[in-house]
Amino acid sequence: MDLALSDEQEALRESARGFLGRAWSTSRVRGARTPDGAGHDPGLWREMAALGWLGLAFPGAVGGGGGDLLDLAVVFEEAGRALVPTTLHSTVEAALLIDRAADDDQRAVLLPPVLSGDRIVSVALQEAGMRSSPAAIATTASRDAAGDGVVVDGTKLFVPNAGVADALVVVARGPDGVVLVVVPTDSAGVVRTPLQTFAGDAQHMVAFDRVRLPAHRVLAGGWPAVAHVRRDATALQCVEMAGGARAVLDMTVQFVTDRHQFGRPLGSLQAVQHQVADLSMRIDAAWLAAWQAVWRCAGGADAEGAEREVAIAKTAASDAYVDATLTAHQLHGGIGFAVDHDLHLWSDRARWAAATHGTSDEHLCSLGQLSQPRRVS
């Protein structure tokens, strides 16, 4: 057992925190927020790409840095702390899916421009009646009667950052099961409509009306690739959430230290201290579970074990992050409730994150399916 990051990972953490401290700020977060912004910041994007963050966990042959999910998680924790736009997570997830589902020729074409930051991609999975079960997918990818291509029909919901994406990996129902189709967003028949959500990130409804694509746009890996990458992306998101929750805790500790009432700091009151202590304990626990989940996914350990640990991590991270923001609101009082204050930026992100990659309810249900006595004496 070794719960410390390696020296290289510590160095990466320091440089990531340092970079984001210089290059990113809550005023830039506000500027990037929808509806006024695009949920994305092109300047930050270019700098993150230049640092190699997008390709950290990909092999050098496709333009990546040759690292693994743990390296990526170091960056994601800092990104969660600093509220880096969700394009980072959604693009990396789509790239991981292409990497897993595509053949060598497709990877050589599709991945380098994504990892260099020149093209933004995202995954189109959910639908009005579909959150996570492949059986409920209604979007179809049928054979094109006119040639050897495919025709995509259907409507996807909550597609992250579709407005700035150059291509979407669409999860559709094919003649022989789930297929993945890489659809350029400027294809004829693609209509992207922004959804009005409260978190300031960009999510879209994307309609595909008889969108015709050549056969080389279809990736060989089907649902197993989607499930695998969602698992990894969920684990990464847990680390991101733990980073965000710690930022909220730090902000709150600072506030109750500075704010005086009754002639003494609020933070000297036991009723306040105990709320801080509870958050601290739960965030530490969620942080440990999140890193354990990433570690398990990175090691390619057996899928069943990883599913269990990812479900535990996401439940813990969602609950800890959401409760951290709500407790922070309570301890900040009116000052933190005014939008001039930055707290609500994290509160919005926490609620978005809790609804993404499986809610606590959904993960508890899947754990219930997996639950059995762990050890029989």
Partner: protein, 389 residues
């Protein structure tokens, strides 16, 4: 970063399990079940003797002090396994007092006390709390006054668990009446059979016995003062940090959740398998999540000790999280078990051999013992986050 047990750790767990299969047999399990986990019974004392023979009560002591020089992670793994089968755990004499002696006592005191602790012939009752000094431990009033080459002790202690069978008292007392309160305390070792000591039992809700102990002009040699005069507060708080990691052990909770899950899968109520009921499935899944978090917090604290760091806030976190999960998990279990959960352990119809109700009634003690969870939260906020006292 690596969350796995090492090969050596896995081999260690296998060794412990093989030992328990052999030494903690059906009779012992039955005795523990009927006794509700009471420590004083003959079977339990005999089992403790086997732990002594294995050297497992001195597992983490340095080899130069007769220990095995093993890691804190290995001790925690051992304690998880002991708790899982319901065996008596590494007691506080070994887990908390002995490490304090190793760290803080003078060389001749180590030579005097460590060998008999290791061979099981010296066992301590821990004398911290007093009737008027609980959470505010530094206010304690039991005093020791030097008279020639002897300390003369007067006062009383409470919640002195084990005083009816232990050989010695590990006594926090006031030796420097004029010093500031955190520099006024020393630790003395006192034979419980010394003249002037009176032990009176207190029966607790769970059925376990604890004690109130009076000291009336009790005399012990001057060399029984551990380490240095006036440093007792530091020795006591360090010993408590180790104790908190031990209280945070999750093996017993693992057993509860495993047995509850197995029971729910095997039991039909109103024509439906319990585990198939949505509310039961959901409750079990919630316990799985919290139990894994509790395990991570506990093993992290042990890992920190092995890495040469002192877990302060982290020791408090594992203590709080685990003990509150004891309360929550046993409450969930009793809800799921319904009326059967009330049955005494010796009733053959009692599900989980009474484990849920025993744990339910023990949970309050875990939450306030070893420093109340409120004090632990103070420590997390003040020492972990620098909030003012």
């Amino acid at each position: 970063m690596d969350f796995r047990l090492t090969k050596e750790h896995e081999a260690w767990v296998d060794e412990v399990r093989a030992f328990l299969d052999e030494e903690f047999d059906a009779d012992a399990r039955e005795a523990v079940r009927r006794g509700g986990g009471e420590w004083g019974g003959d079977v339990i004392r005999a089992f403790r003797g086997r732990l002594v023979e294995k050297g497992w009560l001195s597992l983490t002591w340095p080899e130069e002090h007769g220990g095995q020089g093993r890691s804190m992670v290995e001790q925690v793994l051992l304690m998880d396994e002991l708790a899982y089968v319901g065996a008596p755990s590494i007691d506080m004499t070994s887990a908390s007092v002995a490490p304090a002696i190793i760290r803080s006592a003078r060389p001749e005191q180590r030579d005097r006390w460590l060998p008999p602790i290791r061979d099981g012939s010296v066992e301590f009752a821990i004398g911290y709390s007093e009737p008027d000094s609980g959470s505010d431990l530094a206010s304690l009033r039991t005093s020791a006054v030097l008279d020639g080459d002897e300390w003369v002790i007067d006062g009383e202690k409470i919640w002195n668990t084990g005083a009816e069978y232990c050989t010695h008292e590990w006594l926090a007392c006031r030796t420097e009446p004029d010093a500031p309160r955190h520099q006024a305390m020393s630790v003395l070792i006192v034979p419980i059979d010394a003249p002037g000591i009176t032990v009176q039992g207190i029966t607790t809700w769970r059925g376990m016995r604890t004690n109130q102990v009076w000291f009336d002009g009790v005399r012990v040699p001057a060399e029984n003062l551990i380490g240095e005069r006036g440093h007792g507060w530091r020795y006591v708080t360090q010993a408590l940090a180790f104790e908190r990691v031990a209280i945070g052990i999750t093996g017993g909770l693992r057993r509860l959740v495993d047995d509850l899950t197995a029971y729910c899968r095997a039991t039909e109520v109103d024509g439906e398998v319990l585990a198939d009921r949505l509310e039961v499935e959901r409750a079990l899944a919630g316990l799985e999540v919290d139990l894994e978090l509790a395990r991570l917090l506990n093993h992290r604290a042990a890992w920190m000790i092995d890495a040469g760091r002192v877990p302060n806030a982290e020791a408090s976190m594992t203590k709080v999280f685990t003990t509150e999960l004891h309360a929550r998990a046993s409450t969930v279990a009793l809800d799921v078990l319904g009326p059967h959960g009330q049955l005494d352990p010796y009733d053959d119809r009692s599900p989980l051999a009474g484990l849920a109700q025993l744990m339910y009634r023990a949970a309050p003690y875990l939450r306030f013992g070893g420093g109340t969870n409120e004090i632990q939260r103070d420590i997390v906020a003040q020492r972990g986050h620098g909030l003012p006292r």
